[in-house]
């Protein structure tokens, strides 16, 4: 199986349909009798809804129904929940205000859903929406992250006095204070982790389809986790019991976190399909994506690093204000806490760490996970303050990292911030990356560039990620409302084909290929005879979905466990057919054989016997060869690595050109190197976008100024260099595949790498720090204010 098994760069199974335009994305689907939906959204960031008059809209051509927050309340729909309850520093629960699917009392951000119009055509729904008259009492808005918790700021939710959701701490505050007291040097930095908008190229879409025959609903939706959507819409929003709701997430055009969440639109079209007795389709226009997909990051941080005279890290102190936006999205509270504070050990032996996070509401789009989610913010502040410290103390930036790395022999390593790293070799990745980019020869290149009038800089970042979320009991103790296992089912048919049902969801990650490679490798079944099914709660036993680079580590492991059961049952069937003792049967390369003999049955023959059980031990074994496993991981996984890049800056324009990018990552065992390289390259591009050009900008009144691709700058092919990818390997010690995960690391490593390079390029001018995004204007200003 070497050519299609684990470790082979197999061509992607899913690509054939995509390159011929025959994928089936949600908006490509249409249901018989389908009507179309358009949402009336608040034009105000903060306004009391005094009344909503739908009469004129209801009389508009083609209109089938108009629904408001009052209708939602009358039908007793529930609030869209935040699934992660954070316990505050003082022991109290976080302030979690309700989030109703349609706003009835107040609108809390520009784009907040106020009413729904359903009509025969999309344009009729859109036209009629303009006739919905909402009487708003416009209220002062609280938009500024730094000011929203201050006295006198407009209060957004009655349940959250001072607009504070929680104040949370992690680490040993006293020990950290003591570490700073004995420091030789303290490096300090204020930094902004800029708000980004996920911008999957496929806008969100949903079709609610109520079947009047059996009172059941089907929701076709752009989701990264259809089972979780079913759970939330059933158990919390209470539209239908889970047994009466099927959620299908077909081909999905990118997620990057934004399609984890269960949004108001999806709930409302599901509910409305029953109200109008027709399927109801909604597809976001791009402006709606900007105004309603959960945004990411948006932190203000003060960080301090205490060092001894040799540059060893004694203590790290972090104070962060994190924006939640106007409502708590499903996982919002977990991002600046359990996916952020717990990563502040980084890859270093920092002896004492304390982190405090104040999470606040503002009249802006809700903030939640975007590719990396909390971990890019942690890596950014660590790798920036390490560079600042190196600069302050005159220590080479690679050398200061070497002096502080957790040694390769120190695993398992208990961090100061709750996690226990199982494996890693951070020095190996660093040295490989430095060799690849010729770190030693950089000053020559800087000089050569200076001769051409360019400012050249080099930057590096050594990151770590916690992914493969996560042990259910651990996350449960931290306030998670769900378990975070995964389900996998491996089904043979009578002719020896295999169908794999996974609770993971692929929306670019190549599961149809990589999961088939694993199955082919383990079971010795040809790759072509394996189909991977995902994204349908009606076909797959259960699932927690794809986010946080968990699919392979958790979903892949569930499939391995299901295959273990298949092999165990196959062994018993083979023992019967071969008239041997079960203990004497061994399984290898798709064959069950009697040890020391040439007597064997292929797994295909075993499957046939299982489905046509004429010669079969029916008294002790059920027919069929179809096994399901739920896998709950023992720990997170910890990919880590070093990225290095070089930039050249034009003094006259401030334009930053990224000249080279080297990524050396440790992902544990790699199933498909070609797929992994693509994940890294895409992640780096996402991180370069955040560092160089992407930013969500609000004006004082809460209007989103960057609400289109003309205003929100996405990285394009011409903005990026070739991204050189290599790996080092330490295996994950606790999952059966030894895998760690790779989907987010590029976005985690890239912002710090790039800003470190830009600051290095500008350092000769006296620049110490530059905020993201380092647009040409910002860089030009830095050049001119420095000189």
């Amino acid at each position: 199986m070497a050519d299609t098994g684990i470790g082979a760069s197999v061509r992607r199974k899913e690509d054939q349909r995509f390159i011929t335009g025959r994928g089936h994305y949600t908006d490509d689907l249409n249901r018989p009798g389908q009507a179309y939906a358009f949402f009336v959204r608040s034009p105000h960031a903060h306004a009391r809804i005094k009344s909503v008059n739908t009469a004129a809209a209801a009389r508009s051509p083609g209109v089938i129904g108009v629904f408001t927050g009052q209708d939602v309340a009358a039908d007793k729909l529930g609030s869209i929940p935040c699934g992660w309850g954070v316990t505050q520093k003082d022991g109290k629960p976080m302030n979690a205000p309700p989030h109703m699917p349609l706003a009835a009392d107040k609108a809390r951000y520009v784009g907040d859903q106020v009413a729904l119009v359903v009509a025969e055509t999309y344009n009729q729904a859109r036209d009629a929406a303009e006739k919905v008259v909402v009487d708003y009492e416009v209220l002062p808005a609280s938009v500024d992250l730094a000011a929203t918790a201050k006295k006198g700021a407009p209060v957004i939710h009655d349940q959250a006095p001072n607009n504070v959701c929680f104040v949370w701490g992690l680490g040993d505050e006293a020990a950290t204070k003591a570490a700073f007291a004995k420091a030789h040097h303290v490096a300090k930095l204020n930094l902004v982790n800029n708000r980004v908008i996920p911008n999957a190229i496929e806008p969100r879409a949903a079709i609610g389809d109520f079947d009047t025959g059996d009172d059941s609903y089907t929701l076709y939706v752009t989701s990264q986790n259809p089972h979780l959507a079913r759970l939330v819409i059933s158990a919390f929003v209470q539209i239908a019991p889970e047994s009466k709701l099927r959620v299908v997430a077909p081909d999905v055009g990118g997620g990057f976190g934004s399609k984890i969440f269960i949004y108001a639109e999806e709930c409302v079209v599901t509910w409305a399909s029953r109200k109008v007795g027709r399927p109801v389709k909604w597809t976001a226009e791009r402006f709606e994506s900007f105004l309603s997909d959960a945004h990411g990051r948006d932190h203000l941080t003060h960080v301090e690093l205490a060092l001894d005279k040799d540059g060893k890290f004694l203590g790290l102190r972090v104070d962060t204000t994190a924006n939640m936006g106007a409502y708590l999205s499903n996982f919002a509270s977990a991002i600046p806490t359990y996916l952020y504070g717990t990563l502040l050990q980084g890859v270093y032996t920092t002896a004492a760490i304390y982190c405090e996070v104040t999470s606040v509401f503002t009249n802006t789009v809700p903030v939640d996970a975007v590719r990396g989610a909390g971990r890019p913010e942690a890596t950014y502040l660590i790798e920036r303050i390490v560079d600042v410290a190196a600069s302050d103390m005159g220590i080479d930036r690679a050398e200061i990292r070497r002096r502080n790395f957790i040694a390769a022999i120190a695993f398992p390593y208990q961090t100061q911030v709750a996690l226990q790293y199982d494996s890693g070799n951070y020095g190996a990745s660093l040295e490989k990356a430095l060799t690849m980019i010729d770190y030693a020869g950089f000053e020559k290149r800087r000089k050569e560039a200076a001769g051409r009038g360019k400012l050249r800089g080099i930057g590096l970042a050594s990151y770590i990620e916690a992914c493969g979320i996560a042990p259910s009991q651990v996350v449960g103790s931290l306030g998670a409302g769900v378990g975070l296992y995964e389900a996998g089912q491996v089904r043979f048919d009578a002719t020896g084909n295999v169908t794999v049902f996974t609770g993971s969801h692929t929306h670019g990650q190549s599961h149809e290929t990589t999961f088939a490679q694993i199955v082919s490798d383990y079971l010795g079944v040809p790759f072509e005879k394996i189909e991977v099914v995902h994204g349908d709660s009606g076909r797959i036993p259960f699932g927690m979905g794809t986010y946080g680079s968990r699919s392979l580590a958790v979903g892949g492991s569930a499939i391995v466990r299901a295959m273990d059961k298949v092999i165990a049952k196959g062994r018993r069937i083979a023992a019967h057919l071969l008239e041997a003792s079960e203990a004497d049967i061994e399984f290898k390369a798709g064959k069950f054989s009697v040890k020391g003999t040439d007597r064997a049955k292929t797994i295909g023959e075993i499957a046939f016997a299982a489905y046509v059980p004429h010669n079969y031990p029916l008294s002790e074994l059920e027919p069929g060869l179809d096994e399901t496993a739920f896998y709950d991981p023992a720990n997170f996984t910890f990919p880590a690595g070093t990225h290095v890049c070089e930039v050249e800056i034009d003094r006259d324009t401030g334009v930053v050109a990224v000249e080279r990018w080297v990524a050396v990552d440790d992902f544990g065992r790699i199933i498909n190197p070609m797929v992994v390289a693509g994940q890294v390259q895409g992640g780096v591009a996402h991180g370069v976008g955040q560092a160089l050009c992407e930013a969500a900008v609000y004006d004082k009144s809460g209007q989103l100024l960057t609400g289109s691709y003309m205003d929100y700058c996405m990285p394009r092919a011409g903005d990026l260099p070739s991204i050189e990818v290599d790996t080092t390997v330490t295996l994950c010690t606790h999952n059966p595949l030894g895998v760690k995960g790779c989907g987010e690391t590029g976005a985690i490593a890239a912002p710090a790498t790039l800003i470190n390079a830009i600051v290095d390029a500008l350092a000769p001018l006296g620049v110490k720090h530059i905020e993201m995004p380092a647009t040409s204007q910002r860089v030009w200003q830095a050049i001119h204010s420095a000189s």
Binding site: I19, I201, G683, A685
Partner: protein
């Protein structure tokens, strides 16, 4: 139903359709003709996901009205392969895994085809700028650039 009668050639076949005045060519392709390969990513001509070739010119189908297509010859992703035989660009996108979620891919393939028609031997920089009208959030463009370079090499030799 009433509407504007439009006669076109799509992927080599004569196609007639009725459309409303406000319908875009993208609406017509997707909703009336079942050609859903072209996608609407933005509706404003900024993302290139709806790229098709009209009378030899690469356009965003979201910016062309259906009624404007009268008398035009239109190429879409559905007509790129010759039956089961993939176009060299499609082959190379497969070989290099130059796509992930796939939603921008039809647009990239049409844009790359147009680029190689105009410039059969592009440099990496020319490819990067030639495809800068198309957004991809998944790949970082690296493998797309490699695939187009490789396809150009094969097509020149053909």
């Amino acid at each position: 139903m009433s509407g504007i009668a439009v006669s076109t050639t799509i992927n080599g076949d004569a196609v007639e359709f009725l459309c409303q005045a406000e319908e875009t060519l993208l609406d017509v392709l997707r909703d009336r003709l079942g050609l859903t390969g072209a996608k609407e990513g933005c509706g404003t001509g900024d993302c290139g996901a709806c790229s098709v070739i009209v009378d030899g010119r690469l356009v965003c189908a979201c910016l062309v009205l259906g009624a404007e297509a009268e008398g035009s010859s239109i190429e879409t992703i559905e007509g790129m392969a010759d039956g089961d035989k993939l176009h060299p660009l499609q082959e190379k996108f497969l070989e290099h895994a130059a796509l992930q979620c796939g939603v921008c891919t039809p647009g990239f393939l049409m844009a790359a085809k147009d680029l190689l028609t105009r410039n059969p031997d592009p440099t990496e920089e020319e490819i990067r700028f030639g495809l800068a009208g198309n957004l991809c959030r998944c790949t970082g463009y690296d493998k797309i650039v490699r695939a187009v370079q490789d396809a150009a090499r094969v097509m020149k030799g053909a």
